[in-house]
Amino acid sequence: MPLLEAEGVTAGYGDSEILHDVHLRVDEGEIVALIGPNGAGKSTLMKAVFGLVTPRHGSIRFRDKEIAGHTPYNIVKEGLCYVPQVANVFTQLTAEENLDMGGYLLDESVLPERKERVYALFPKLRERRHQRVGKMSGGERQMVAIGSALMLDPALLLLDEPSAGLSPKLVDEIFANIEQINATGLAILMVEQNARKALAMATRGYVLASGQNRVDGPGQALLDDPEVGRLYLGG
Amino acid sequence: MATLALTKALLLIVPAVLLALLVLPARRWRLAVAVPLGVALAFAASLALPSGILAYVVSFAIMGSVYALLSLGLNVQWGYTGHLNFGVAAFFAIGAFTSALMTVEAPTGIAAQYTQMAFGLGLPFLVGVAAAALVSALLAFLVAVPVLRLRLDFLAIATIGIAEIIRLIFQNERWLANGPQPLRGIPQPLHCLVRSQGCDWLPEWAMALFEPLSPRDYPLIYLVIIALFVAVLYLLVERACRSPWGRMLRAIRDEEASAAMNGKPVTFVRIQSFVVGAVVMGIAGALYAHYVVTIDYSHFHALFATFLVWVMLMLGGSGNNRGAVVGGFIVWGVWSGTAFLANAIEPLLALIADDLPRRAAYFRWLLVALLLAGIVLYRPQGLLREEKRVSRYLRE
């Protein structure tokens, strides 16, 4: 049974339609990479899944339950967490408070244990737990953002360009973290500009262009496909 | 008696025709219909209405015109440029007091002890109005320069503060305009027309026309004056808003960043439109002062001078000058009408509590506040929507 399945999703902002009849599937334990040129609608698809954009047509099912058009507040409860591309941390709060907010739906007694798990994954955050996130570096912020999303122990994590704006060294670090998270059994759906690296570690990949599905298949197969390489991976 | 009615009718023609022009839709036949309709209306009103009712209608129309001007000024600021001016009262008051100080003769001798004022120049009415416009513009400029470059909600806070401070100044500073006491004796333009000795500069035949009028009938003459002011200012504002300048205002309101990128002097234009709106408000203040003759700080309470104006513009339709003027008259009608309502419910209130009938007037506030809340919630675009027309030469 697929974890997340989107079929025939059409969505947009105001008068403009960005996604046309898009489909997508994520199975348990997979890493699925969503790649494509700028303006392809990758982020919009993520937002549609998470209820930040209401789809006009189509269905989005999580564990066979229809979630299209639900509010983000209710979708979180289903076991989906989302890390937006920008503004994905509370800059006025400390790192620890950010994690507390990530676990807002949990019982207070569970919080310390969950925070420990995040600190085990990102030891740097433990040192700086009482620092305001607004004063942290881009890499640290990304850790806070991913860490907060992990607090609810979701079944599926949506990552919108986790490597955006990071230095090459940090990009490798974050990707290593993502594989580490995936190894615990968590399925991951990520949008990435670093298409080669993303496909290299992905179970499967989807190529989106102009708001439509172009190609999909196993990550390695897409990397090997000369057409994909020429059109979407820059040669 | 018949000549009196005839004179009144002739005077009423001007405002009646203008009213017809305002109400009729903008078709090619508008003028051709409006003139006979206005003339008929003027004669009907003068002949059929008892003099008491006619006087009430005239005073209603004058106050309605004052508010129509305030609403028009606010439309330039809010409707066309998106300035959130919550201090209309400031410009209204500064206009009224400026014109008063310019036109009143400074008292001398014993009277000077009772009425203190910074100066009283005894200048003509039009000079007073011009000065009101100028000082109002200056105040607007001083407010606009520091605040307009900031977020638009800061302007709302700053203007509400300016209005309060202006009111405090006219309440406390005796030397300036007689402190908390009213400033009396503001001259009325062309008042000589209704006096028995007449105006010496008028030709004989014209004097004969006004001969039947007594000082009681003066508001009729003032109505003609203020109606002409409304018409002229309306046309000027309408012209300006249809001009390239007006298009620039709307461009800045809707897409400030792209207007700036297209090389429009955004801040400068925003200041301009704020000042232009304030000038119209200042003129409204001057016209108010010369109508009521006696003014004091309490006339410029935020309720009457800011809140009602916002209700008018929001009801009429922001971004639409005709809507602004029509809204001014409608809401002034509602406000005046609630006075009767308040009187009517007094006996009912007496049944609930002894104190309540004396507070019946506050139910009017309540109604107007609910009216604005209702407009904001259910019809924020107002009665008349903003016209999308780009230019007179370009019709869709």
Binding site: F90, M101 | I165, L370, A373
Partner: protein, 358 residues
Amino acid sequence: MATPTPQERERPTVVTRTARPGERARALVQSRAFLLLAIAVVFAVLVVAAQLRGVSAERLLSLAAWGVMLGGIIGLGSIGLTLVYGVLKFPNFSHGALVTLGAYFTFAFLAWLPQGEPLTPLSFGWEFPVALLVAMPLVGLVAMAVDRVVYRRLRRQNAHLVLFAMASLAMAFFLRSLIYIAWGPDFHFYYPGRPNPALTLPFNIRVRADQLFILALALVMMLGVYLLLERTRIGKAMRATADNPELAQVRGINTERVIAWTWLLGGALAAAGGTMYGLSSQLRPEMGFWLLLPMFAATIMGGIGNPYGALAGALIIGVAHQVSTAFMNPTYGPAVAFVLMVIVLLVRPQGLFGRSGG
């Protein structure tokens, strides 16, 4: 990606370059230190003006002490204002009416409660704090109800900020007219004619016991607000929602509930501020409107959404106002607040504690 307005906030700057002299001067003028200097200059002008009028130093000290108390009152009002401003992003012009309503609610409950012996040296008995404690949540509920009926509907329509501001103006007049209808335009006193002689403190500062009570209560409430915002979940959620409402939703925070709590807290504190103000002078239907400008000035000075900043701003404004009464008509209080606010807007619009470049 085709996101229409990506909210780029505080991305770490990668590019460094040498600032031009003009930019450096601008950065200097917009610094916190410069703003503090400007405020200090205002104080110096006030003190010099008072000296020229022959006001004694002792009297100035007393005035400053009263100013701290007035600052406490303004601060109680501004905390609610700044929280609502931070979470809902609009200036709530009806906050002054909530302040007035709080004062009158306390007045109404006092009439029902049996009057106890005055707790000398204070001018009131035990019934006064009781009435206050009843009035506070009630005003909070009124604020919540207004939000339910008016602002929530606007939120659902995704209405523009100005419609919120306008609706709040309408609500200001609505609440004010209700106050006029219920209690009339006349002045009221909590305890008409009851004396509250001034105590003499060190440095010959003369203050009334009631004023000390007001200050103490303000401090206790500030402490309560601090604990609420820093230590409780709902408090952290309020700060999170103010910081980034969309992310708060994504994290599973029910923002509607957070907003309701914000109104409850803001309304209750406004009621406390109004009651304290009524105790220190008298009750008038326009008292909240008179405080509105100082409250906004404190909010902007402290940085919008920052309750501690608002308190600091309120203290500055309270002291400046009281010191100015040494030589100016006290009704000009809003004008003093206004001048300070304009200085803040000119120098550093994000306020004393706001983020730079914000």
